[in-house]
């Protein structure tokens, strides 16, 4: 009976948090403040306890105000430690604030738990979060915070972009960069504080950073990154909450984090363009092309001696040229044969007519580049071959023609070998 009400609250709360977490996380990520956000979340814990100890009340507004106060104090301490000591680096400062504030929070929590007053429990939900305790009042607070965050980001989008990308330039334009930093940090504190109830202190950083990190893989624009990050944050929250409500043993906070992390892994592997998988495939394609072009070129050079390029060459002769295993060569020859550039019969291979043209193209690039290096850069002739080995695969057809023109259409390469002429279509 109460299930649907609680679940609705949980879903709503987690979704709203996912949205703002994702939005602000993008800024935290780009400003390299992922771990400052972590410190901030940990530093909020003693605030919750202090608010309770001082007032003896458990009203959410009060506890959150306490959390915000020590959260801000923690962030200030990081800055103070780095600037004041000039020796302790930011990572250590974050580690110090994170662990000491958190330890203080634990001291207070355990103290409160052992106090005789009955209403102690409930504070430890801030450690790992406890969505089930969300009430409508909390949701209203969250809605308010989201409205503030979204409005601020929309209104100051241009200035915030400037802050994240080029602070000095922004300052030279006269925008108050320090003020914007403070603004952004305040928003971050607000989000962290509402997040404490849902995912808890320890996992808060993930709510901010993981969706943003995933979003970064999908887009190259700040605006869309923020949107995608918000959407992914919501997706992780909804999926996590639903999974955890369907099972008895999946706590919602960690489940949300795991769903988001899974989305991140997928994004890093499969996002278009930036995905590691596509990058690997592109690299592989280039490597294979280079091998095939090398084979073409080797066949051409061998044929040059007898001035006949279409006789069969045994694979072991080719092995001797580049030290490639015969198996590898056979595979490449088969690919060339499939493209109609070569013919493979048994252990022997030869260029076809179109294969010869393709080979000439590669050799042309190689030799023209050698000429360029020796003539224009005055490199000795015995230094240019290796460089040309790389350039023959990289030069575009246009670039080669320009190169030839600039060099005055040379006929021989620096070693005295003829440069194949351009093939007229």
């Amino acid at each position: 009976m109460g299930i649907s009400y609680t679940l609705w609250n949980v879903l709503l709360g987690a979704t709203l948090l996912g949205l703002v977490g994702g939005v602000l996380g993008s800024f935290a990520l780009l400003r390299r403040q992922s771990l400052l956000a972590d410190a901030l979340a940990h530093a909020a814990l003693p605030g919750v306890c202090l608010a309770f100890l001082l007032t003896g009340q458990k009203s959410p507004g009060l506890l959150l105000a306490g959390a915000a106060a020590t959260g801000v104090l923690g962030a200030l301490c990081v800055i103070l430690i780095v600037r004041g000591s000039q020796l302790i680096k930011e990572d250590s400062a974050i580690g110090i604030v994170l662990s000491v504030f958190f330890a203080f929070g634990i001291v207070l929590i355990t103290k409160i738990q052992r106090m005789p007053s009955g209403n102690q429990s409930g504070l430890d939900k801030y450690l790992f979060g406890q969505v089930a305790t969300l009430v409508t009042e909390d949701l209203w607070v969250m809605c308010g915070i989201i409205a503030i965050v979204v409005t601020t980001v929309a209104v100051f989008f241009k200035e915030l972009r400037l802050l994240c990308f080029d602070r000095a330039f922004g300052a030279s334009l006269g925008f108050p960069m320090r003020g914007l930093e403070v603004l952004l940090t305040c928003l971050l504190v607000m989000v962290v504080v509402v997040g404490l109830q849902i995912v808890g202190v320890v996992l808060m950083v993930s709510t901010l950073v993981t969706p943003a990190a995933a979003a970064r893989q999908w887009t190259d624009r700040l605006g869309s990154m923020i949107l995608v990050s918000g959407v992914l944050g919501m997706f992780g929250a909804v999926t996590g909450v639903l999974l955890s409500s369907a099972s008895d043993s999946l706590p919602p906070g960690p489940t949300i984090v795991l769903v988001s992390s899974f989305v991140l892994v997928l994004s890093i592997l499969f996002a278009p363009r930036r995905g590691i998988l596509w990058a690997r495939l592109r690299e592989r394609a280039v490597r294979l092309r280079i091998r095939r072009e090398n084979l073409l070129k080797d066949l051409y050079t061998l044929g040059e001696r007898s001035q006949s390029w279409t006789v069969l060459t045994p694979l072991h002769t080719l092995t001797a040229m580049r030290g490639q295993p015969a198996r590898e060569l056979r595979k490449n020859s088969r690919v060339l044969a499939a493209q109609g550039l070569a013919m493979l019969s048994g252990d022997e291979v030869r260029l076809t007519e179109s294969g010869l043209q393709a080979a000439e193209k590669v050799v042309r690039k190689h030799r023209l580049w050698e000429v360029y290096l020796t003539r224009r850069l005055e490199l000795p002739t015995d230094h240019v071959h290796r460089d040309a080995e790389a350039m023959e695969h990289a030069l575009t057809d246009d670039a080669v023609e320009q190169l030839e023109e600039r060099l005055g259409s040379p006929v021989l390469d620096p070693h005295g070998k003829p440069i194949p002429p351009r093939i007229r279509p």
Binding site: E159, F165, T219, R221, L377
Partner: protein, 273 residues
């Protein structure tokens, strides 16, 4: 009436684009710039030259109000920087930003217009057109929508230059615009600087390559924590002044000596590779 006009134009010509008085700047407690007094003329390409750690970038940052000086003041066209922001364009060092930032070349150039656009308003189509024009001037029109990490170092430098052009300033401050770029970009940057000079703008650039000072610039400021000398290249960029600037650093001195020699044709191209 006429006297007022001539007075105005006269005063305009006599107000230097950049004046620095008694400027001392310290990082923490270590002074990096000592008591600098400087007044630069309008309409020149001006190089700031000096060894590493001489305070060249610091000088620019202090002028822009990014660092608070211990003593002294800076005037841009006779007024404090805060009142002259819109007259000043700035090109920071290329390494000072994260080029993996999710933004396009066009977005970066549009940032140069933010000062004019002001708070709360978004860049309009007119601003985008302006940004395109600036990219055109540095030969980067075709790369406008590229993500900035997909640009080469030289192209990134040109984007920064285009952003400064978008500021439509009278005085440009550039931190090492020629550092780490390819030959094409070097020519493009130089062309832009020369065009700016033609329009009567003033460019103050930190420059590290002694070989090209005389070729690229009209006026030079020699700096080594203190002002060593400032004046037209012909009279100021001398062996003696360089010796004063670079002290006993032999390698740099020999480089300086080379710079003063007539350049052999062909040598430069060989070095550009």
């Amino acid at each position: 009436m006429q006297s007022t006009a001539s007075f105005l134009s006269g005063s305009k010509a006599s107000i230097p684009p950049l004046e620095v008085h008694d400027l001392t700047v310290a990082y923490r407690t270590q002074p990096v710039l000592w008591d600098i007094d400087l007044s630069l003329p309008e309409g020149y390409l001006i190089a700031i030259v000096g060894p590493n750690g001489a305070g060249k970038s610091t000088l620019l940052k202090a002028v822009l109000g990014l660092l608070r000086p211990l003593t002294g003041s800076v005037k841009i066209y006779g007024a404090p920087y805060a009142q002259r922001r819109s007259w000043v364009g700035y090109v920071p060092q290329r390494e000072s930003v994260d080029w993996d930032f999710p933004t396009s070349a066009l977005d970066v150039v549009t940032m140069g217009l933010y000062g004019r656009i002001g708070w709360f308003r978004r860049p309009s189509q007119r601003h985008t057109d302006l940004a395109y024009q600036c990219l055109e001037k540095v030969g980067m029109h075709d790369f406008a929508l590229r993500q900035i990490s997909q640009l080469s170092g030289g192209q990134q430098q040109r984007v920064f230059l285009a952003r400064a052009l978008a500021q439509e300033a009278r005085l440009y401050l550039m931190d090492e615009p020629f550092a780490g770029i390819d030959a094409t970009t070097e020519r493009a940057v130089l062309t832009v600087l020369q065009d700016l000079r033609k329009e009567g703008k003033t460019v103050v650039a930190v420059h590290h390559d002694l070989q090209t000072v005389a070729e690229y610039f009209d006026y030079v400021v020699l700096l080594n924590m203190r002002l060593v000398a400032a004046g037209p290249v012909g009279t100021t960029f001398t062996q003696e002044n360089l010796q004063l600037t670079y002290g006993g650093r032999l390698t740099v001195l020999s480089q300086a000596a080379e710079a003063l020699l007539a350049q052999r044709p062909g040598v430069k191209e060989a070095e550009m590779k």
